[in-house]
């Protein structure tokens, strides 16, 4: 039984088909990347998976539960976590409170008291190495620190599936390598499936994912192991265009 199963999922915004008949599965504990150029429909696909808005057609199953019509917070309770491209920590709350909010309302939230959530938050603060910032408002952190707080907040939800939206956008190669190894570590320690969305940083894709889904104009282009996907001529064409000699003059 796959962890997540999307079947013929379609989303339209007026006349624009943002996600077009997407079908794929994600297994427990899998490390996967969704890639595609700007406008390919990756963020829309993420939003459909975790219920920011509903799909127009198709079904989404999470561990055999049909979640197609579930609101976002119910999907979170079932075990979906999410980070955003531009980190969105709760600015006025402290780092500890931000992460504790994840623990309080996430998959295990209903059994966790506020005090227990604060203790859990401390564990994740140590994991991301921000112990010095524990009691500072998250709004005052640097962008990378905010990103880490957001990852910790999502992990504190105890998800089975973590959707990471452009976790490495705007980072230098050094930071990317660090983030890649950090993400690999948390996947090992938490034992969760991670889907990372990446626009064009192939260094991250190659280092991170075992399998790659490439989206193009809202549709699924390839769904292959990473190595094959990154050398697939169709993928190269989407990113770089065809070689000049293949065009008829």
């Amino acid at each position: 039984m796959p962890l997540l199963k999307c079947e013929n999922v379609t989303k339209r915004f007026g006349g624009l088909v943002a996600v077009d008949d997407m079908s794929f599965t994600i297994d427990h504990g899998e490390m996967m990347a969704i890639v595609g150029p700007n406008g390919a429909g990756k963020t829309t696909m993420f939003n459909l998976i975790n219920g920011v808005f509903p799909a127009d057609e198709g079904t989404i199953h999470f561990e055999d539960v049909d979640v197609t019509h579930f609101p976002a917070h119910k999907r979170a309770h079932l075990g979906m976590g999410r980070t955003f491209q531009i980190p969105r920590p709760f600015a006025s709350a402290t780092v500890q409170e931000n992460i504790a909010i994840g623990a309080m309302f996430g998959a295990a939230g209903s059994e966790i008291s506020v005090d227990e959530a604060m203790e859990m938050a401390d564990h994740y603060i140590d994991l991301i190495g921000l112990a010095d910032h524990r009691d500072k408002p998250a709004g005052g952190l640097t962008p990378i620190e905010k990103k880490l707080v957001e990852i910790a907040r999502a992990l504190a939800m105890k998800p089975k599936l973590l959707l990471m939206d452009e976790a490495m956008a705007g980072m230098n190669p050094n930071d990317i390598d660090e983030m890649v190894s950090f993400i690999k570590d948390i996947r090992e320690s938490e034992g969760i499936a991670i889907v990372a969305m990446v626009e064009h940083i192939m260094r991250a894709v190659a280092g991170l994912a075992e399998r790659v889904i490439v989206m193009h104009q809202g549709a699924l282009l390839v769904d292959e192991p990473t190595k094959e996907a990154l050398t697939d001529p169709r993928v190269i064409e989407v990113y770089l265009g065809k070689p000049a000699e293949e065009f008829d003059a």
């Binding site: 920011v52 999410r82 969105r88 709760f90 006025s92 709350a93 994840g102 309080m104 309302f105 005090d115």
Partner: protein, 331 residues
């Protein structure tokens, strides 16, 4: 944070209300001012529970005070000859709470689906709509209002009716203020408060974190509305002993509530007290020093304070005491 420590900030609240009450009791001739200040503090405290904690601005807020006033009026008007004594006031408070709950459920079911400016605009209509409904459909005597001074005297005797209007209604108002503050603190220290902080900062992110934002918005909305209903029932119905729709469905009071919350610091516990005192005292003395011009002077003062200190008095104070022992008390 230790369990007992979490509720320490209630002490400055009790101290502030105790001092205000003491000032009124022991300084002759100041009760009128104290009553006015207590009204503003209570209004701010009740309004803050929704606006401050969720970031939603409800321009129709005074409608909850209005229906609360009617709740008390109806009880006294219709039950004065039943020999219930003070029971009519208890029934009045219950009716005020029920009316404001029902109205908040009706408004919330529609308006809480909207965000930001759309929510604000939708709620403006509630207030005006309700007033015209009462006047046009002649509900509860329509625009003629309800005058129940006589009924109160009949039910409770003349001295008791007088004492309630001039003193005990104000004491009840203090009680509502403290109730509002206690509820605010309890919410802040429990999941409700964290959910509200999250949805105030970023509603979409809050949903994705597993927060049922609709549920928590409604909790805050109903709590805040019921407190407004109780405030209307005491500060207006019991004190004035009459009610006219054009008096109680008056948007002016909502604007005052917004100003008080912003002056003190939205979403803080002590903010509404500080905001209510600043607003009430300034308004009172401006009316004495510059009668007729007070609003002209007052408006730029308010604009200046809100521009200079967007986080409000308590917001600034919180930053100042961070890291000191006072931090535990100022929120």
């Amino acid at each position: 944070m230790k369990r007992a420590h979490k509720y320490l900030p209630i002490f400055p609240v009790l101290f502030a209300y105790g001092a205000l009450l003491g000032y009124g009791l022991f300084f002759p001739g100041k009760w009128q001012l104290v009553s006015q200040l207590a009204f503003y503090c209570t209004l701010g405290q009740a309004f803050n529970l929704f606006m401050g904690m969720t970031g939603y601005v409800d321009f129709g807020y005074v409608a909850f005070m209005g229906v609360g006033t009617y709740g008390m009026a109806i009880s006294i008007y219709h039950l004065s000859d039943k020999g219930l004594g003070l029971g009519i006031i208890v029934i009045g408070l219950i009716l005020a709470a029920v009316f404001s709950t029902l109205l908040s459920l009706a408004v919330g079911a529609v308006a809480l689906r909207l965000r930001g400016a759309y929510f604000a605009i939708a709620t403006i209509g509630v207030n005006e709509g309700f007033r015209y409904l009462i006047e046009g459909a002649r509900i509860w005597n329509g625009s003629e209002g309800m005058i129940f001074t006589r009924h109160m005297k009949q039910a409770l005797g003349k001295p008791a009716a007088m004492a309630i209007g001039t003193f005990w209604a104000d004491i009840m108002m203090f009680g509502i203020a403290i109730l509002a503050a206690v509820l605010t603190l309890i919410y802040m220290r429990n999941k409700v408060g964290y959910a509200l902080t999250a949805l105030r900062e970023d509603e979409d992110a809050a949903k994705v974190m597993g927060i049922n934002v609709t549920k928590y918005k409604i909790i805050a909305f109903i709590t805040s509305s019921v407190l407004a209903g109780l405030l209307g029932a005491t500060a207006w119905a019991l004190k004035l002993q009459y009610v006219y729709p054009e008096d109680v469905f008056e948007i002016h009071y909502t604007v005052e509530a917004i100003i008080i919350v912003l002056l003190g610091g939205a979403g803080t516990l002590l903010g509404p007290i500080v905001g209510g005192l600043i607003y009430g005292i300034t308004k009172y003395y401006l009316a004495i020093v510059l009668p007729g011009f007070q609003l002209l002077i007052f408006a730029p003062i308010i604009v200046a304070i809100i521009v200079l200190f967007p986080e409000g008095t308590i917001g600034i104070l919180k930053q100042k005491v961070m890291g000191t022992p006072l931090q535990k008390y100022i929120i």
